[in-house]
């Protein structure tokens, strides 16, 4: 449980850093002070990990698990053993140093709180990667490090190089992350669990699995991209555009080690095979040489360090590939040694950059006098990098050489590995020498570079790891540390490892090789001018950056081609989709065609069925041939009503009822929308319905026939395979009355069994209403504004912005209008050839028609009737046909009638309770309150509660004041709100007011 503490601490740190961004704090506290305060948190994490060490000193592990999806064997767990503790100590320890250093690096720039926040966030992610006890948790944090690394690299986001570098690193590590996830999921599925304990136990199972090479390839790809193995190393040098503290922390000491950590962690499960050996050793070797070679070529100090980091990462991967106890001994020592000297060097390079204003080797030189302490720190660290005694780096190199000469490797292998290691060691030594000599010694190359010593504490930060590399090397046989390292190596190796930290082991083959490497390195360093000049002249034969650029270019090209296929005509898309879906279904769907034609008996019911089917189809078909859109809409309505009759005969009375009212409402809405269009446009619309080439018509007809045929076959299959076994329906049938008190099973499903669906559904309905309203209301308004500002420009009148928001009817009366506005006014009164513009608009219905007194009286009577009808629907819907939807739509129909008869303004005036937004809101709130109350009482969302019985009310027979009833009322309110919004918006787009 306590294991989560360090994670929380650093997250709190990130939050505090963000809080420090607040002006009131930012003004009072300098960034340096803030950094010192924040450093307490990673320091606390460091101390915490130290305090846990005794608990795992026996080589065991601390595990903390939270069940998440136990059925899939997935949980979120944390895991601390010696291997992760080693990395965790490095991350939190160096993290503390880097946070303090950041305070000095950004001195005077208090806006760098952002950097501190990102840094601590990254630290939390990194701790998460190392603390994760299962591969899913690991992956989540793994991606977190990629993202936070992106933020840190792109910190100076105004700089294009920073943005490009950040994108490149995200592109490559993110791509690797996807592969990693796939690989880890394979591992989890084969091992039967995603936690390390299970996975580490299932090594034999995993290695024997036919998927072994697939999962190994995917995981290795993920780890290689993260740990910058060639050819994916190209992102690391570009990531150096990050501020130096980030480079020191992420891109040398911590994040890039994540891949190494993962491979070491999974070695007992996936290692010990030929594939593992060749894959890791091969890539590691190439990376080691590539990094070492390219590093020597650099002029930029950070780039030089970046390439030497690449080289070192190659060494680590190679060691894991070797898979011997000596190799893992070398691995843990190398990880520590490298983290110490590389972070120290990065931080001193940061100081040089900060104080001298450049980190270009061609301009530096002779800084020893100006920066004596920085120079000393850098020299100590560089000695360790060069692998010279008595530094810890020397020990790392010795153990490395011993590992590559391990007797289990074939002689040819030893020769190759040893030669490559010696060469890489020599190159690295030459780089360390170049870095120190060309920066601090010799003559100043550029007279414009003036450096001065950095603040004491800023130098102290790199001094700590630098001195530790010395101290670790000098300690005579530190027993405790050796045991800790041995345990860490054993966790990665899967078996006991013996670690000795003595520098002097006698004259051994590794020592001889080491001497060879040092001499070669010194020779290279002495002739570095010529070597580097030669390197510059050699063409870059294979540049993987070109590959990266090509990949991105290909992506762009693909996107261009994809957009080319988009003609912008919806009809074309639709046709393409329909044709392909139909073809796919008919060709590959393997739809079992019914072999026998079902028997046909002609009784009364089937005559009725045939009649309605023919009616529905014929009316639908008629809508094609009717010239006027209005008539086509009526045909559509007839077809919809026939469909309702088919549903009655199903028999499905509830559905049929809803179908009837919805069909009528749809027709009303369509007619309203149609009548809002100008007459000329409508006339043109009729003409162009069939305005098409003959071939086009035939093509559309063929598509329609094909789609229809496909649906026919599907339906026939569905119908002829009845009855089918069903589990769900019998459950609903058996429990409807007992659990929900409803005899109507459909109603019980809608408001009870699947109440949550219905809640979402009415939310969608309400939102659609709001959507329609917003679209038409604001779109119309914008047209107004555009046209008015146009007329303003033409000097025809001055209309201020403020007046535009005045009521629409006032605007209608204004004589100055743009053509669009005029078209809006003109079309309505002339819509039916009736009406007069001088009429009082408020008593006019749609189209400006004044309805006859009889129709108006009818409307007044109709509304209360529908309200009663709706109430009955809701009260008795649980035992009979009918429900909240029907109720809501019925009232909406009456409202629609009112709009048509009285017009928008008058309806709003006479029905003050009709506030669509409030209705939708009230409906949704009511459902949620209803559900929450029953959850509180019965312990389940939408559980059935009979309030009538609970309160002892005497209610009419057959009516219960229950959860379901309240739900029905809520549905009714929401549907009414949504529908009346649609009606108002479509019927009177130019009149609609924003509800206050």
């Amino acid at each position: 449980m306590l294991l989560i503490l360090p994670l929380l601490l650093t997250l709190v740190g990130a939050a505090l850093a963000a809080l420090y961004g607040h002006p009131s704090l930012n003004r009072r506290l300098t960034i340096t002070q803030a950094a010192w305060l924040l450093a307490v948190l990673p320091l606390a994490a460091f101390v915490f990990f130290l305090s846990r060490l005794p608990a795992i000193a026996d080589g065991g592990a601390l595990v903390f698990t939270v069940d998440w999806m136990p059925s899939l064997g997935m949980g979120a767990s944390l895991y601390l053993d010696n291997l992760s503790a080693l990395f965790l100590l490095l991350v939190s320890g160096i993290g503390t140093i880097v946070v303090i250093y950041t305070g000095y690096y950004f001195k005077g720039d208090n806006s760098a709180w952002r950097f501190l926040a990102y840094l601590l966030l990254f630290m939390a992610m990194m701790l998460g990667v190392l603390l994760a006890g299962d591969v899913i948790t690991l992956f989540v944090f793994w991606e977190g490090t990629s993202l936070t690394s992106f933020l840190l690299i792109a910190y100076k986001y105004k700089d294009e190089a920073a943005r490009r570098g950040a994108f490149k690193s995200l592109f490559i590590t993110g791509g690797g992350g996807i592969a990693l996830l796939a690989g880890l999921l394979f591992v989890g599925s084969v091992a039967g669990g995603t936690d390390y304990v299970t996975i580490l136990r299932s090594g034999d199972l995993l290695r024997a699995s036919p998927l072994y090479s697939v999962m190994l390839g995917l995981i290795a790809f993920g780890a290689f991209t993260k740990s910058a193995q060639a050819p994916a190393h190209i992102w690391l040098p570009d990531a150096m555009s990050a501020p130096t503290p980030a480079s020191a922390y992420l891109h040398s000491a911590t994040m890039v080690k994540a891949g190494v950590y993962l491979l070491a962690r999974l070695n007992p499960a996936l290692g010990l095979t030929e594939t593992w050996f060749w894959l890791l050793t091969g890539f590691g070797l190439v990376t080691m040489l590539t990094g070492a070679y390219l590093g020597l070529k650099q002029h930029d100090l950070k780039a030089l360090l970046a390439y030497s980091t690449v080289s070192q990462l190659g060494v680590l991967v190679m060691l894991i590939g070797n898979d011997t106890s000596a190799a893992f001994k070398a691995l843990v020592i190398s990880v520590v040694a490298h983290a110490l000297y590389k972070s120290a060097l990065f931080l001193t390079v940061g100081i040089v950059d900060h104080e001298a204003g450049t980190r270009d080797l061609r301009r530096l030189g002779g800084l020893r006098r100006a920066m004596p302490w920085t120079c000393r720190v850098a020299m100590v660290a560089a000695l360790s990098m060069a692998g010279l005694p008595p530094m810890f780096g020397f020990l790392a190199k010795e153990t490395l050489l011993a590992a590559v000469m391990h007797p289990t490797i074939s002689p040819a292998g030893i020769a190759l590995l040893a030669a490559a290691t010696v060469l890489a060691g020599a190159l690295i030594l030459a780089q360390a020498g170049t870095l120190i000599w060309d920066t601090f010694f010799g003559r100043p190359r550029d007279p414009h570079v003036h450096a001065h010593e950095a603040p004491r504490w800023m130098i102290a930060m790199p001094a700590i790891p630098a001195l530790l590399s010395l101290a670790f090397g000098l300690l005579p046989e530190p027993e405790g540390m050796a045991v800790f390292f041995a345990n860490a190596a054993a966790a990665a190796y899967g078996d006991k490892v013996k670690v000795s930290l003595a520098l002097w082991a006698g004259i051994t083959p590794p020592l001889i090789l080491s001497i060879v490497a040092v001499s070669l390195g010194l020779a290279l360093w002495a002739s570095r001018g010529r070597v580097r000049a030669l390197q510059q002249r050699l063409p870059e034969s294979i540049s993987f950056n070109a590959l990266h650029t090509a990949a991105l270019g290909l992506l762009d090209r693909g996107a261009y081609l994809a957009t080319r296929t988009q003609a912008g005509q919806l009809r074309r898309y639709l046709a393409a989709m329909l044709v392909s879906v139909t073809a796919l279904m008919l060709l590959f769907g393997r739809v079992p065609l019914p072999t026998t034609v079902p028997p046909f008996t002609l009784d009364e019911l089937s005559i009725l069925r045939i009649f309605t089917l023919v009616l529905a189809t014929a009316a639908a078909a008629l809508s094609i041939f009717l010239r006027r859109d209005f008539n086509a809409i009526l045909a559509l309505g007839a077809s919809g009503l026939s469909v309702a009759v088919i549903m009655v005969l199903e028999p499905a009375p509830d559905v049929a009822l809803v179908q009837v009212v919805v069909d009528i409402l749809s027709v009303v809405i369509l007619v309203l929308a149609l009548s809002a269009l100008p007459r000329a446009q409508r006339r043109r619309a009729w003409e162009l319905t069939f305005l098409q080439s003959r071939w086009g018509l035939i093509r559309d007809g063929l598509i329609a026939v094909a789609a229809g045929a496909a649906i026919t076959i599907l339906t026939l299959v569905a119908l002829t395979s009845r009855p089918r076994p069903s589990i769900v329906t019998p459950f609903y049938e058996a429990n409807a009355k007992t659990l929900t008190g409803a005899a109507d099973i459909v109603g019980a499903i809608v408001v009870d069994f699947r109440g949550f669906d219905t809640l979402i559904e009415i939310a969608v309905f309400g939102l659609a209403g709001i959507g329609v309203y917003t679209l038409l209301r604001y779109a119309t308004r914008r047209e107004w504004r555009i046209s008015e500002s146009a007329s303003q420009r033409m000097g025809q009148g001055r209309i201020s912005e403020g007046r535009i928001s005045e009521s629409a009817s006032q605007r209608m009366g204004e004589p100055r209008h743009s053509p669009f506005a005029r078209s809006l006014i003109r079309h309505s009164p002339h819509e039916y050839g009736l009406g007069d513009e001088s009429h009082d608009r408020s008593i006019m219905g749609i189209g400006g028609t004044q309805a006859s007194p009889f129709v108006r009286a009818l409307a007044r009577v109709l509304l209360p009737v529908t309200l009663i009808l709706a109430a009955v629907q809701m009260m008795y819907g649980h035992d009979q046909a009918g429900d909240g939807f029907t109720a809501g739509v019925i009232i909406s129909l009456a409202i629609a009638f009112w709009y048509v008869v009285f017009g928008y303004e008058e309806t709003r005036r006479q029905l003050p309770w009709l506030r669509p937004f409030s209705l939708v809101g009230a409906g949704l709130l009511l459902v949620i309150a209803d559900a929450v109350i029953s959850a509180a009482v019965k312990g389940a969302f939408f559980a059935h509660l009979d309030y009538g019985k609970m309160l002892g009310l005497s209610l009419p027979r057959g009516f219960g004041l229950t959860t379901s009833f309240i739900f029905e009322v809520a549905i009714c309110l929401t549907v009414l709100g949504g529908a009346s919004m649609v009606l108002a918006a479509l019927g009177h787009p130019q009149d609609v007011q924003v509800e206050r």
Binding site: A621, P651, R684, E783, A881
Partner: protein, 110 residues
């Protein structure tokens, strides 16, 4: 009977598709509704039983399958919501471009 029903549903779907492919956007909207009617009927047909009685607990005889009915009930309401949104979009387009011709609107875009 089943064959006839399947044919009718297929025919309605085909009519809907044909209507949707018209240039006149009002016809496209009509097509959308016809298609959704046909699909709702198809969904009803996916019920596990051919019933002779409505899906009420107290009805005797083989009840029709309540599950697809509940789904279709929801679908009808949702499709009306969707259809009004489509209509609002079409209306906006046609008032902005002063045409109900989808091809012409597409040309205006480019």
């Amino acid at each position: 009977m089943d064959l006839l029903k399947a044919l009718a549903i297929g025919a309605m779907f085909g009519v809907g598709v044909f209507q949707m492919l018209r240039r006149n956007v009002i016809r496209s909207t009509i097509g959308l509704i016809i298609i959704s009617n046909a699909v709702n009927l198809f969904l009803l047909a996916t019920g596990a039983y051919q019933g002779v009685a409505a899906a009420y607990v107290n009805e005797a005889g083989q009840r029709s399958d309540a599950l697809p009915q509940a789904l279709v009930l929801t679908a009808i309401v949702i499709s009306m919501a969707g259809f009004s949104l489509v209509l609002a979009l079409l209306y906006m387009l046609s008032t902005r471009y002063h045409t109900s011709d989808s091809d012409e609107i597409a040309e205006l875009k480019n």
